[in-house]
Amino acid sequence: MSQGFPILSLVTWLPIAFGVAVLALASDRNPAPARWTALAGSILGFVAGIPLWTGFSLAAGGAMQFEELAPWIPLFNVNYHLGVDGISMPLILLNSFMTVLVVIAHWEVVTEKVGQYLAAFLIMSGLINGTFAALDAILFYVFFEAMLIPMFLIIGVWGGPNRVYAAVKFFLYTLLGSLLMLAAFIYLYHQTNGSFEILDYHKLPLTMTAQVLVFLAMFMSFAVKVPMWPVHTWLPDAHVEAPTGGSVILAAITLKIGAYGFLRFNMPIAPDASHALAGFMITLSLVAVVYIGLVALVQSDMKKLIAYSSISHMGFVTLGFFLFNAEGVLGGLIQMVSHGFISAAMFLCVGVLYDRVHSRQISAYGGVANTMPVFAAFFVLFAMANSGLPATSGFVGEFFVIMGAVKVNFWYAFLAATTLIFGAAYTLWMVKRVVYGEVANPDVAALKDVNGRELAFLALLAACVLAMGIYPKPFADVMNPTILELLQHVTASKLR
């Protein structure tokens, strides 16, 4: 194995190191050093990840790239093993990018415990990158669990009035799921005669019963993260209480870890069980699309509405995966990246309003376009992307999932395509009530349009959303070889 420059270690540990530094610089009286250090750290973290994209070999098929391997706990054969393929690499870049945005977005908004706030985000960013890059089950588990802590703190410390309830709900929900995953790892460790290598698990033949049990154990962990219906109720609560930055990372990145888990663990480790349970997974996904779409329609709190919208969109991801065809999986993966941009943008937009009016209620607004025309233009753009308008990234993923669904079963496609109507209905109805109309109240009349900092992150995200919608080929090119290999792998039975 060629051990080149350890880029993956860099993108994992650089943000964490900066996070620790920011913690050391934290000072409530003078937050500037912490802020600038955090900005530098987040940008460096993103820049460090760019070679992953530029140096990514499309010819490598589904093989892992940029691998790093070193013994960690030799006694149990636990290794520090990192590597990325076409599934994880884009997610690492997405995460590093979002960290930069979150740091920019916090600037004038968070004024209490600034250093600690930023440190939590930087450390979490590194841990998430580690989660995506880990190829050793225990390493994965450690990152996966450790990541909960900063998010728990972000919600619990900088959150809204009901933050403690939301934080505990978030923590318990996600922790309970992952304990079963650990049990599955220990089982697989025994079955492979002492290996924690995820790629070894991929090759391990298992009986159907074992596959189903492993699948379900991991399902509990990942389904909560996605979140899939009916274990989704922690998400709206968490979003409502989380500060804007927390919501951005939660929606844009942490949800993706659950979906990523299905691709990295469930499907390749238990392919026969995955096929057997595909109907179950698809049903849950479609319930998410339709049921949650309807629930989103009646939300009166903007953040809750976007949270439900996220669940519905993530339903597309899991639907796409369990169609077991190239269009579906590609659609799901693209939807993951796209939803990262769009949900982040939507939450940041709500954040922009919240910072001025201090309300998330739709009814507290009306006619925002009169006083914030530039903001309104961005908000409408992102709303359209959220409704899956072509030429925005939101369309690409949904389109391919629907294309994949038609191949499998018309009714899957039929139910999935209802999102064209529901997605537009709940998003644009919110736009109508918030952005359009006469100036509704003195708060709206007093609104000031976006400042340069806000313009910067909104414009960045708008560029991403449009670029990915107009030219998604580079993303698909990176993902396709891995998808093909994955599908080949899961088509072959590995029953023992």
């Binding site: 009916p230 629930v295 009646v298 308008l389 369309f395 294309m403 038609v406």
Partner: protein, 665 residues
């Protein structure tokens, strides 16, 4: 320049104009915004003219611009297909758009959103061109949704008005219902053909003529029928066909120039164009054509009836548009695709005239749209009157104006068509001729002739929607400035002559060549055609002509001779008038059933599903269960170290046993 360059310039010039006006307009001012957009659309128009010349000379183009996405064995491009069908559409779109751009200078002169408006209409022109120039289904869908987006933005242009932002949301959602079918249709195309390129799909389509799919268990449906029905549902949304027509009348909340451009001349005809483009597929599905012809017939006749009772000048024209779109759809169903496109073209000109003429009246009366407050305007607005009269004659289908040729051809095609349902459509089409002539001339006589009701101070029936800046009007109306009347005149000219001039080459001269499937109906029609002159002469002896005359005569009697009668008739017709005024109750039903139903369902799921069952029973129930367990476990936690130590030893012992047991196997 070669065709590719011309096509690229034609498509992207308006995008550049829109971007410049949108991003810099606020800084560089109004003159900049209208200059740059008009220049860009003019360039696009000239390029389209050049393209028309090239394709007339036999050239065509089908080339990718770039690869949008690619996968294992398939790829989807963004590219241009420029053939004779495309060239006609491009010319119509860019010409009407150019006229509307010029007109807007006058119409929107006092509006604070001037630059934004120009940016939007140029963006619309770009989107519409991408739609008609697409060489694959995906790009078609791109253009399809993009024009929908711009339509949404423009209907809600005056975003302070509750009615406007209700109308634009409604328009978008109803269109999304259509798109739902459209996307599933595209899904079937991709699943079956493995490609989205028109050429490849059309080539392979005959091989799939016998393929069936089982959507409902036990029923085998033809794959191509399923595809065509899906695509046509999309067309029903965009081209406002019954029962997805409900958004179009409300779209009149938008400023009048876009009513002319988007909601009459171009965007709403996208569905018609699409079906004509897909004619190789529709030709293979008799069942789909049958659906098309029936939907078109219902739309053509029943929407015309609603136009009779409208008092808002724009809404009369809007219902007229619905009816005319129904005629185009019937022509498609009759497998007379070239005639549908022919009517699309003539309609684009005369309907734009009617809308822009109505707009000219509206500004002359300081944003009054209610015809009950007009009357006698012909003396004050001579240019507007003359052009509206031309538009009306064409709209009613009186010879020898353009509408006559296209409408008469449609009726003839329905007569000859073998599509099941053609007889039904023929009858409704004839009925529609009478009604159409009546409502069109009712508008002319009501608004331009008779008593000058705009001088009355009373009669404040504010039933009609009013554009902002409305104030009670008491003075003498003045003819609109030249930027308004010039486009009217330039659009009125083709409204008169284009039918006479184009019918022979376009329908029977093989103009469309291979760009539209050739059909038996068209072959039959060709046998009966002996030139435009003969067609006019022949018309005087046919039923449609006399139905037309009867309609005009009735309008003249009711609105010129006995203007007191309409009110009496309305009072006596009771339920019928109410049904028409309520537009058959569709809006009420949709608001109650779909909008209300979805909200009620959402509330129910949120309350019972999420809060009661999931959070209440499952989550908090688990928490209580854990609490109970903790209560039990608390008794174990005695606080004595030796208890813990003992427990640990037991645990270690158990684990060791387990490990040894495993090691042995």
């Amino acid at each position: 320049m070669d065709l590719m360059t011309l096509a690229t310039v034609a498509a992207f010039a308006p995008l550049a104009g829109a971007a410049l006006a949108g991003l810099l307009g606020w800084k560089l001012g109004r003159a900049f915004a209208h200059t740059v957009t008009i220049a860009s659309v003019a360039i696009s128009f000239l390029a389209s003219l050049a393209i028309l010349g090239d394709v007339a000379a036999g050239q065509s183009l089908s080339a990718p611009l770039y690869t949008w996405i690619a996968g294992d064995g398939w790829s989807i491009h963004v590219g241009f297909l420029v053939d004779r069908l495309t060239a006609v559409m491009m010319l119509v779109v860019t010409f009407v758009s150019l006229m509307v751009h010029v007109y807007t200078i006058g119409y929107m002169a006092d509006d604070p959103g001037y630059q934004r408006f120009f940016s939007y209409i140029s963006l619309f022109t770009f989107s519409m061109l991408m739609l008609v120039m697409a060489d694959n289904f995906l790009q078609l869908f791109f253009g399809w949704e993009a024009v929908g987006l711009v339509s949404y933005l423009l209907i809600g242009f005056w975003f302070k008005r509750p009615t406007a932002i209700y109308a634009n949301l409604k328009a978008f959602l109803v269109n999304r219902v259509g798109d739902f079918g459209f996307l599933l249709g595209i899904g079937f195309v991709f699943a079956a053909f493995g490609t989205l390129d028109y050429a490849a799909v059309f080539r392979a389509a005959p091989d799939f003529a016998g393929t069936v799919v089982e959507i409902v268990p036990g029923a085998d449906w033809s794959l191509l029928t399923v595809i065509c029905v899906g695509l046509f549902i999309g067309a029903m949304g965009k081209s406002a066909q019954f029962p997805l027509h409900v958004w179009l009348p409300d779209s009149m909340e938008g400023p009048t120039p876009i009513s002319a451009l988007i909601h009459a001349a171009t965007m709403v005809t996208a569905g018609i164009f699409m079906v004509a483009r897909m004619s190789p597929l529709f030709e293979l599905s008799q069942a789909a054509l049958s659906m098309v012809i029936v939907v078109g017939a219902v739309t053509a006749f029943f929407m015309a009836l609603v136009a009779i009772v409208q008092v808002d000048i724009k809404r009369v024209v809007a219902y007229s548009t619905l009816s005319q779109l129904g005629y185009m759809t019937m022509a498609l169903g009759a497998a007379a695709y070239p005639i549908a496109i022919f009517h699309l073209m003539t309609h684009a000109f005369f309907k734009a005239v009617l809308f822009l003429g109505a707009g000219s009246v509206i500004i002359a009366l300081h944003h009054e749209q209610d015809m009950r407050k007009m009357g006698g305007l012909r003396k004050y607005l001579p240019w507007t009157y003359a052009t509206v009269l031309i538009g009306a004659i064409a709209n009613a289908g009186l010879p020898p104006f353009s509408g006559f040729f296209s409408k008469e051809s449609i009726i003839e095609a329905l007569h000859l068509s073998q599509t099941p349902g053609a007889g039904f459509a023929y009858l409704l089409a004839l009925g529609g001729v009478f009604v159409g002539a009546f409502y069109t001339f009712r508008l002319v006589f009501f608004a331009f002739h008779g008593k000058e009701r705009f001088r009355d101070a009373h009669g404040h029936a504010h039933a009609a929607a009013e554009e902002p800046g409305h104030e009670e009007f008491h003075g003498t109306p003045h003819e609109s400035p030249w930027v308004v009347t010039l486009p009217l005149v330039l659009l009125a000219i083709p409204s008169v002559v284009i039918g006479w001039w184009a019918i022979q080459p376009m329908l029977y001269g093989g103009w469309f060549g291979s760009s539209i499937a050739s059909t038996a109906t068209m072959a039959e029609m060709a046998k009966l055609f002996h030139g435009a002159g003969a067609m006019v002469l022949h018309a005087f002896g046919t039923l449609p002509f006399w139905l037309d005359v009867a309609g005009v005569a009735l309008a003249a009697y009711l609105y010129l001779v006995r203007p007191d009668l309409p009110a009496v008739i309305k009072a006596k017709s009771g339920v019928l008038a109410t049904i028409l005024e309520r537009k058959y109750g569709f809006d009420d039903f949709n608001d109650w059933f779909f909008a209300g139903g979805a909200r009620a369902l959402g509330e129910g799921l949120a309350k019972w599903g999420d809060r009661t069952i999931i959070d209440g029973i499952m989550v908090n129930g688990t928490a209580r269960l854990v609490g109970w367990f903790a209560g039990v476990a608390r008794r174990v936690q005695t606080g004595y170290v030796y208890h813990y130590a003992f427990t640990m030893i037991i645990g270690v012992f158990a684990l060791l046993t387990l490990w040894l047991y495993h090691a042995r196997i």
